[in-house]
Amino acid sequence: MILVVGPLGAGKLAYVKSLGYCDEDIAPGILDERPVINDVQAWILAENASCEEMVSRLINKEVVICREIGSGIIPMDPQQAAKRRLVGHVCNCLAQEAVQVIRLICGIPKRIK
């Protein structure tokens, strides 16, 4: 599995398409049979499951794309704050299992693992 992360509009999707994936391969924030899941943060935020459970369900994807959402003001609502941290924790676990971790900034992919 390749984990692709970066802020909104950093070029994550374009990078994944450059690897040879087309629109039909990419699931938008939902978990189905397609090999790539985009906006996994939206799926994590909506899903009611533990970190371990989510990781185990994502681990067999070829590519997981996550928008970084943890670099803002901590939400006032503690549950929202915890959810935001959970997105981070799921990504930490996925990164450990991933063959590669790619971070996009200004459209530039940087391999950090």
Partner: protein
């Protein structure tokens, strides 16, 4: 070897874990300076989680919520200060209102602390990345923390950003183990 390191990264990116792992490789005495003043259930849960992480690691915990300037530490000490966001919020906002000099004061205190001890690891966060316009006092806080981050990054030996639990060096050289 004297080292000052600034550790940044988003929520849940592994900053604390990295800081503690790093601290454990440094010679004793080791201190963990906790700056989060617990206000709700979630805060206590975070504190409990962090305490569990430090269990059996030979790290002494010190709680400092504000007025870091009065704090003294022995020259051989290595310490983790977590985190700048809390320290600034505690120092900047009170019943009396907003203190716009807080960031300057904290910078001086941290530089003084850095000069006192052997190794200082400061945990911070990038909080200006959500594209939301907040009320003026919150915007002032974002500006103040970003200013502090820039100032410390300038003076410190190493700046490290945690991404998905992976340390990415922004400034300085990799430490040979």
């Amino acid at each position: 070897m004297h080292m000052n390191i600034l550790i940044t990264g988003g929520a849940g990116s592994g900053k604390s874990t990295y800081a503690l792992q790093y601290l454990c490789k440094l010679p004793a005495p080791r201190y963990y300076v906790a700056c989060m003043k617990p206000v709700g259930e979630e805060d206590w849960a975070t504190i409990a989680r962090n305490r569990r992480e430090r269990q059996g690691l030979d790290i002494e915990t010190i709680e400092i919520y504000q007025s870091l300037y009065h704090f003294h530490i022995e020259p051989a000490a290595s310490l983790v200060l977590e985190c700048l966001c809390n320290l600034l919020a505690n120092e900047m906002f009170s019943a009396q209102g907003v203190d716009f000099r807080a960031a300057e004061r904290i910078e001086k205190s941290i530089m003084r602390l850095a000069a006192q001890c052997e190794n200082l690891l400061v945990v911070t966060n990038e909080i200006g990345g959500d594209g939301i316009d907040y009320p003026p006092e919150t915007m002032a806080y974002i500006q103040a923390l970003s200013w502090l981050n820039r100032r410390l990054a300038q003076s410190f030996d190493q700046v490290c950003e945690l991404v998905c639990g992976i340390p990415c060096l922004l400034k300085g050289n990799e430490v040979k183990e």
